[in-house]
Amino acid sequence: MAEKVLELKDVSFSYSSQPAVKSATFSMEKGDFLGVIGPNGGGKTTLVKLILGLLKPDSGSIRVFGEEIPKFRGWPRLGYVPQKATNFDQNFPATVFEVASMGRFERAGLMHQLSKEDYNAVENALKVVGMLGMRDKRVGDLSGGQQQRVFIARALAGEPELLLLDEPTVGVDAEAQHNFYALLKKLNKEFGMSLVLISHDVGMVSKYVNKLACVNINVEFHDVSKGVKDSDLVCAYPEAMAAVPHHH
């Protein structure tokens, strides 16, 4: 049996009294591609923040690479591309290479300069996303799709085994989206990287993933490696819920 990279057991979290995630239970193994879908405000980003240890669950446990989060020390093994990553100050003076190199800072450690090995990893990451040729360009001068690839390179530079991406295709044109999914497929199939992709784009996500979590405060988990059924997606369309027969 493959190594478990992520395991949530009965995880709940509320902002003051507003429940955001309720008893989420699911797990993913090495090489899995998990899609997280659900309506806005349904708790998708909260779920990611819990997995990253940025929020502490009210109850339940989260294990990353087999280790429970408060004790987990291998954070560089996780890569993260935040929502609105491209929402930075477009006048900021930072080159493509400088932004991608941030992905190595955690591995290098506080007060340490980046080593030759770190710089090689940054170059490799830029090569994988096809942005090495633009390494000295200012990030703010690039298109939205190119910026997105730089932020993915930043996450890849840390050589993560599990990569989490939060709504990365927002505000990116169709061609860039297509390239983006092709890149994820390459990372997943060729490099064997485990992926978590949060998206509101149910159609696209369900084409690529083999596991699906439908998050609307409650979390429904489906193995979709043999194809996605319409019923797997119900939680993403709350207005369609009425059409689904309920048996109480």
């Binding site: 990253l52 940025l54 954070w75 993260y80 935040p82 990553a85 930075f88 100050d89 006048n91 900021f92 003076p93 930072a94 080159t95 400088e98 932004v99 190199s101 941030m102 992905g103 800072f105 955690e106 290098a108 506080l110 007060m111 300069q113 980046l114 000295d136 360009k137 200012r138 001068d141």
Partner: protein, 267 residues
Amino acid sequence: MLEFLQYGFMQRAFIAGMLVALLCGVIGVFLVLRRMSLVGDGLAHISFGGIAAGLLFGVYPLFSALVFSVLAALGIQKLKQMKVYGDAAIAMFFSFGLAIGVVIVSVAHGFNADLFSYLFGSILAVSQADILVIAGVGIATIVVLLLFYKELFYITFDEESARAAGLPVENLNNLLVVLTAVAVVLSMRIVGILLVSSFIVIPASTALLFCRGFRQAIAFAAAIGVASVVAGLVLAYYLDLAAGGAVVMVLIAVFFAVLVYKQFRPK
């Protein structure tokens, strides 16, 4: 040519001026990009209270100013964490420091002239002791900045991601304002309390007009600051101008020259 370098006071002015211009240029890039340009000004006014207290109690004024300024820097951070708006927190400490200074002056008479030299700077009266303090503390501050360069770069670019990447964001923010407090106090002797923020804000803003990379912006901000100090001091010497004011005029002239060039250069 260069006869002015024969004078001890001019040598000291050059060493002290170039060092603080370098330091403030580097710090300025971080502060300006984080929309914290006014922190320098606020901390300088707080230092005024520290200077007055030092003169009153017979403590070396740069030392008492340093204590006031660092404590206020941490106080501003604390208020921000307690959900007071950042600019309001700065404004409060700003007035508080001035108030302390004014009250002390009204109680104790007789050192108005000394205080005046701190308000407007007196680069030509930089003493041997001042030089040792400015050089020692200034170099130490630059070393700390270089040690934490990459982390400060990350939180300046995107605090949220930096936090997700496991960086101690709160502590780094505290570090940045403390280093600013130190830089402000060191610069005060040269340009004076009222002009300190020019050393922090203008070279950085000039570099940001044309730099593509962060390292590049830091290098240019430092270089613009240092070159302007040299030019300003030479001007002040030959035209018999106030040194602090002359340096700031040069900084402003460079900024507008770059701005105009940027507008009219062929794309």
